[in-house]
């Protein structure tokens, strides 16, 4: 294909130019799905970009484009970054998967890192975080804290990532409070403050006094604050402005160590394609400060489970566990394999309602 040739030669020419100037900084591109000020998902990716700049100073040049729609627009933006000499490109949304693979095939000398996907190539790595470990900590706190025994959960989309989080939170809430019940509302959005606020209000009206969210805005926190006596958890970023209550803790996406390591690998020429799925132990999943709104013994229990997840002595999905329909899933002491977790499309026993199809 003519275009491919042109692009390859352009990339090669740029590559040569880079080699000629040894002092030329490593150029790292970031493609974001939301605005950098979303306070959640994209915000944390951009914080990690800033950490890369801080770490390497003049040796690195970063560029980013925000609010890039998934699909052809993403493919164009990624191509544009590769054409303009990026050495490493992070594409930070699941929907960038096929565009990343397409562009990577045209630019064999550029390294690509795709977040939360499952397609790798010689120059495409994938990375994601075991957020379900953080959900185990949240579930523990939620189970202890709820007085109505109703926990509300704002789901974004019914995809494995979100279902995993619901299951993990439920298992650990149930463990400390056998009477607990989960009410799940699907918002069908990652970021829409109005919809998220509505979802939170509906859950609170239905008696929920703990709200967990898998959406990225602080609207549920605001709704909980207005209602009073309802606790929440920060999602993706710390959302500390709602501490000490309603926000009693949070799951923080911490991409900085990974981004720094991968940039370093490109500089050293040691970069290799791989799949990374790190959790609390590697520092990719952070647990935000548990505030004093939580009694000391509950905080202690939550920190204990966090510590056991971090050192690997405990797995968040440890049997005996049954699926929602009552069929056996994990035997006593058995832990879930990553393949099943990655494609998780069922609730565990005890959760009511159906996963929307």
């Amino acid at each position: 294909m003519k275009l491919t040739n042109l692009m390859t030669s352009a990339a090669v020419a740029l590559g040569l130019a880079t080699a000629a100037l040894a002092e030329d900084p490593t150029k790292v591109g970031f493609v974001y799905v939301g605005p950098v000020g979303d306070g959640g998902w994209t915000y944390e990716h951009d914080q990690a970009r800033k950490a890369v700049v801080e770490e390497f100073g003049d040796k690195v040049e970063t560029v980013y484009v925000e609010s890039v729609a998934e699909g052809p627009d993403a493919e164009r933006v990624i191509t544009q970054m590769a054409l303009q000499g990026a050495d490493l490109i992070f594409t930070t949304s699941f929907g960038y998967m096929d565009p990343t693979i397409n562009v990577a095939a045209k630019f064999p000398d550029v390294k690509f890192e795709h977040a939360t996907g499952y397609k790798n190539a010689d120059n495409v790595s994938t990375y994601s975080a075991r957020f379900y470990e953080g959900r185990a900590v949240q579930g523990t706190i939620a189970g202890h804290m709820t007085k109505s025994n109703v926990v509300g959960y704002i789901g974004s989309y019914p995809i494995p990532e979100v279902i995993r989080g619901i299951n993990s939170a439920y298992i650990h809430a149930k463990k400390v409070n056998p009477d607990v019940e989960f009410k799940i509302v699907w918002a069908f959005t990652w970021f829409d403050p109005a919809k998220e606020a509505d979802a939170a209000k509906v859950l609170i009206e239905q008696g929920a006094d703990v709200i967990l969210q898998h959406t990225d805005s602080t609207a549920p926190q605001a709704a909980a604050q207005a209602a009073g006596n309802v606790i929440t958890f920060g999602q993706a970023s710390d959302m500390a402005e709602y501490a000490p209550s309603p926000r009693v803790s949070s799951i923080i996406d911490n991409w900085a160590p990974y981004y720094i390591a991968r940039t370093q690998a490109v500089m050293d020429g040691t970069w290799e394609s791989k799949s990374t799925w790190d959790g609390i132990g590697a520092g990719m999943v952070g647990i935000g400060e548990i505030t004093d709104a939580v009694p000391a013994d509950v905080k202690e229990a939550a920190l204990a489970i966090k510590a056991s997840l971090a050192d690997g002595s405990y797995h968040a999905f440890t049997g005996p566990l049954n699926k929602q329909d009552g069929s056996a899933w994990l035997a006593e002491g058995e832990t879930a394999d990553d393949g099943t977790l990655a494609g998780m499309n069922f609730y565990v026993e005890g959760i009511e309602g159906d996963i929307p199809q």
Partner: protein
């Protein structure tokens, strides 16, 4: 004191000049905005308008202009017919989604069977999907006198729910590890709307957009229906005396615009996008409204306006990446274009007179 005087006749010269003046004013105001953000305004404007067309990597960006512009033009042409007659289809985004779902659905039903007739069937299904979605507000309007602006707009959100449901259920890729989204039609030859000549960006959607421009031009200038459309918009009373059937006109205008939006969605999902996913629609149906007005509801004008909008999108992304302009600034810049267009449009029907105020 500045006053506005109504012109006895709309000014032909201003009607043609306003789009150009609006673009110039946008450049100036946009330049001030970029300067206020601490960026070099000349460099920013140059990046947006010059880089995609004549810059170092224009061999890549020029074909992308076709990819980005084609759905805008295709949808805007359909909308302009209704807008001319005072029939307001605001829901092209929903019709675009339904066209994509119908088209992709037919293609995926055949998977993995390969045959030449699959793609034409998908084209028909895509057009039908958009048409039937537009027929809902059309039928409700002619039967119950509902407002087509509200109904067509609300149906966008219904279509989005369908899209989410299809991505998660019926059309979900069985080999997708449980993730939402259909199979990638780019990897299914019979259903792939590939580039007709590699590296040019020219796919069937671009061809369809060009045909639609010619079709609309002929319709409006040489055909009775086109005359009825113009007459209804310019002089509704006269149109009634001339025997225009409003019911037929509503069905025709909404149906045609729905069909073209559906086709745009179908060509997008089978080509540049490749798969049905929750976030498949990116606002072409709404942006096309701007394109239709920017092009003065004239087929050739819409073609040029579609190209201009595509340019600001592609150039805007380059400016973000190269100059680190925030995306919100680019959106403001695009918004200014419509704002100035509407503002200067005033001069078509009014003249500004400077002078002493008259005592009322």
């Amino acid at each position: 004191m500045i006053r506005l005087e109504k012109r006895p006749q709309p000014s032909k010269a201003w009607s043609l000049a306003t789009p150009l003046v609006a673009v110039l004013a946008t450049m100036i105001a946009g330049g001030l905005l970029f300067a206020a953000l601490g960026k070099d305004p000349v460099e920013a404007i140059r990046t947006i308008f010059w880089e995609p067309l004549f810059g170092e990597f224009s061999f890549y960006y020029r074909p992308q202009l076709l990819v980005k512009g084609a759905p805008l033009v295709l949808i805007a042409i359909g909308l302009s017919l209704g807008f001319k007659a005072g029939i307001w289809n605001i829901g092209a985004e929903g019709q675009y989604i339904m066209g994509a779902l119908f088209g992709a659905g037919v293609g995926l039903a055949f998977y993995p069977f390969e045959a030449w007739y699959i793609f034409p069937l998908m084209v028909i299904a895509g057009g039908f999907g958009g048409w039937i979605w537009a027929m809902i507000p059309a039928f409700l309007k002619v039967r119950f006198g509902t407002n087509e602006i509200l109904v067509s707009l609300m149906l966008v959100y219904v279509a989005e729910q369908f899209l989410a449901s299809m991505s998660l259920g019926l059309l979900k890729n069985p080999e997708g590890h449980g993730f939402p989204g259909s199979r990638n039609l780019q990897q299914y030859d019979s259903a792939h709307n590939a580039e007709l000549i590699a590296g040019t960006g020219m796919h069937w959607g671009v061809v369809a957009a060009l045909i639609a421009v010619i079709f609309a031009y002929v319709l409006l200038n040489r055909h009775m229906t086109g005359y009825h459309i113009r007459l209804t918009g310019e002089a509704p009373r006269a149109a009634r005396f001339a025997g225009v059937n409003p019911t037929r006109l509503i069905l025709f205008c909404l149906g045609t615009s729905g069909m073209l939006a559906g086709l745009a969605g179908m060509f997008e999902v089978t080509g540049p996008s490749g798969q049905v996913s929750i976030d498949f629609n990116v606002g072409y149906g709404f942006t096309a409204i701007i394109v239709a007005f920017l092009g003065r509801l004239h087929p050739v004008g819409i073609l040029l306006a579609g190209g201009l909008m595509a340019l600001t999108y592609i150039g805007g992304d380059i400016a973000q990446s190269n100059l680190q302009l925030p995306s919100a600034a680019i959106q403001v810049f695009q918004g200014m274009l419509l704002f100035f267009l509407l503002a200067f449009d005033l001069l078509t029907n009014f003249r500004i007179s400077l002078g002493k105020t008259e005592v009322a």
